[in-house]
Symmetry: C2
Subunit: 409 residues, 2 copies
């Protein structure tokens, strides 16, 4: 008998009919398994609540936001439990607090501190399907908290870890993790397996299937995560630890992120403390910087560049113009529309020449590279936004990702 944690997102439970579909899907796995089903709020529920909050207050209190938002999942769990009952199954719903999901007190973006899953375990032992509200928990002050973006995935993975589940299945509106965005690359291939580290790079580089937080949690506790489609029965992508035969694969996928802007601060005096001063000023405005590049200095001066979400671009430029004056830099240049294109693969660790092949491929297409950054298992290039799709297709082709894995060695 396997213990399976399943998670269904908001679009999978958007109305009564879809909830009944999920119930039927759950029923298919019910016989012979212990099941925990984590669900999100129905479709646009959260948006509707946020609108109400902003109608009554210009700056709603985070504690009260959590109090309000947590109701979304609470409705879904009750409805799904009812729908399971209607199919003749034993099921019981649990809120985040009831499921023993304890968090810190950072309302609207709380972090899980521990899980006391006793009550869920009792339900499973009694032969019940446990239906659990994702996204929410209880702080040490007994306040209702929410986990922020991707919180329901995190609930599922964390519960799977606490219950030592055999697998955590994330049901979503895509069929799995692909070698590139199928909307851009027609012969993009669904990956049957991917390592946690590759998935982390993919997640942070713009593949929207799973949030980084959930993958980090899964990696830390060794939870196998299976990304599958809610609407199709196909096997999806298993995110798991690295196995020996994966070493052979050079590049697993090509990702891209077209939501970025680029800012450079030019001829900064190259002395200790300058980077801290620049990025301290940015952080103070709660702007999250993505890629940072600084090259060696010449004549005691250097240039610093970084990318950031496009929406923060104007604020960042304003902050940096001040900073540039203070540190006596020459000035700043910026571009509100850039794209980041990356190749990801654990095989890069033991192979050289991957980056060179990437740069050559982009050159062949006449695409100028504005910034380069590398990690152990990824190479990222910032390019002009208009070349994004061309770059992804060219790289997918160059690394032969459309063919079977064996062919790409």
């Amino acid at each position: 008998m396997a213990l399976i944690v399943q998670k269904y997102g908001g679009s999978s439970v958007a109305d009564a009919e879809k909830i009944k579909n999920v119930a039927r899907r759950v029923a298919q796995h019910a016989s012979g398994n212990q099941l925990v089903v984590v669900v999100s709020a129905m479709g646009k529920t959260t948006d509707g609540l946020l609108t109400l909050a902003h109608q009554v207050s210009p700056a709603p209190d985070p504690r009260e936001m959590d109090m309000m938002l947590a109701t979304g999942e609470q409705v879904t769990i009750a409805l799904l439990a009812m729908a399971l009952h209607a199919l003749g199954l034993k099921a019981r719903s649990f809120t985040g607090p009831q499921v023993g999901m304890r968090t810190d007190t950072a309302h609207t973006k709380a972090r899980i501190t521990r899980i006391n899953a006793e009550r869920v375990q009792q339900a499973l032992d009694a032969g019940e399907i446990a239906v659990v509200a994702g996204f929410q928990g209880l702080s040490e002050q007994d306040e209702i908290t929410t986990l922020g973006r991707g919180g329901s995935d995190l609930t599922a993975v964390a519960l799977a870890a606490a219950l030592k589940a055999d697998v955590c299945e994330i049901y979503t509106d895509v069929e799995g993790v692909f070698t590139a965005d199928p909307n851009i690359v027609p012969d993009a291939r669904k990956l049957p397996r991917i390592t946690y580290d590759e998935m982390l790079e993919m997640a942070s580089l713009g593949a929207k299937v799973l949030q980084s937080r959930s993958v980090e949690f899964a990696k830390k506790y060794g939870v196998p995560v299976h990304v599958r489609s809610t609407f199709k029965p196909d096997p999806g992508t298993l995110v798991t630890k690295e196995e020996h035969d994966m070493e052979e694969v050079l590049v697993t996928g090509v990702t891209h992120d077209r939501s970025q802007a680029k800012v450079s601060i030019l001829r900064v005096p190259d002395r200790p403390g300058i980077a801290a001063q620049v990025f301290g000023a940015i952080a103070e405005k709660n702007i999250v910087v993505d890629m940072i590049v600084q090259n060696i200095s010449r004549d005691g001066y250097t240039d610093m560049s970084f990318t950031l979400p496009r929406g923060d671009h104007t604020r960042a430029v304003a902050v940096l113009e001040d900073v540039a004056r203070t540190v006596r830099a020459q000035g700043i240049v910026h571009d509100q529309r850039v794209a980041k294109v990356s190749i990801v693969g654990v095989g890069m660790r033991s192979h050289s020449g991957v980056a060179a092949r990437m740069f050559a491929t982009l050159a062949r297409e006449g695409i100028n590279i504005q910034m380069i950054s590398t990690s152990e298992i990824a190479v990222s290039c910032v390019i002009e936004d208009k070349y994004a799709e061309l770059a992804v297709r060219a790289l997918h082709e160059a690394f032969e990702l459309g063919r079977e894995r064996e062919a790409a060695v």
Copy 2:
């Protein structure tokens, strides 16, 4: 400094604009007082949730119903707390479980067993307005429960008792308790005061301002209840314990209930156990009987009559036809449309002739009385439904209720 519990119903918090109005109303009382504000779900929220539940299941589980329904009030408390913050007030919301409202396990109609109001008291001591979800609690098994119809009023009264509040104010869409329904009797007068016992009779006899359960609770714990309009600043009606000067008043009000049906079982053998057999069969079908009348027997036989909600009429007739055969009664007669008209007043206790005056008044209007029932402070008559309005107007006139109280002595 007074401690005031206020309760606002669903129509008072139906949208963001109305919630802001309630916040302004609360703000008027905030200075110099400790305030607990109990709220219901927004307008039609509960109906919407019930529809969803019936879309996923023909017979939703009561535990899951409570899980779902409790979200309605949880949204309102968060929004009201935000709206109070926006006015610069300190406020904190509490769910039923957080407020220490403990109940039995009778889901969808739980009874309050005890209240541990420590957390609310702490908020009040910290100078915060406590915004509390009505209608909900936590069972001894740590399950979310709801209190059934009129549950939010009950939450308010029970909290007022637990906190030893100076007054419990029930804000509603009517201005108070009237001597009769102002829609029927144009010169009906708003009563400035009414005793718990009178209010109980009024509540159970069809005045829809307050549910009997809340009045019983208020009487038991001596909580003064002030019924007021959400939308008008006028003083409403204070429901309180009997005071000496009230003795002078003979009749306080005329109530009517047009939602009743009548069933009689004829020539029942008059022997011990028969009434139990008849009403046992009715109770088994969860039909709640209102007025029961049985006269003395003749020749060893008697007739039993009772009234019940019109919606249960058909089921009751079916049950009783069986029972009539079993107990060898002659048969049953029934009427799906009757009205009950009553006069209420603590002064009746010490005055005779009140009932006679009522009967004479109805006779003068040519209204036949089908059943009569009396309590210590009320006389009720069942009449043909079409005479209901005429009867109420005639009785209101006969007992001079439209004038000032002094004149009615």
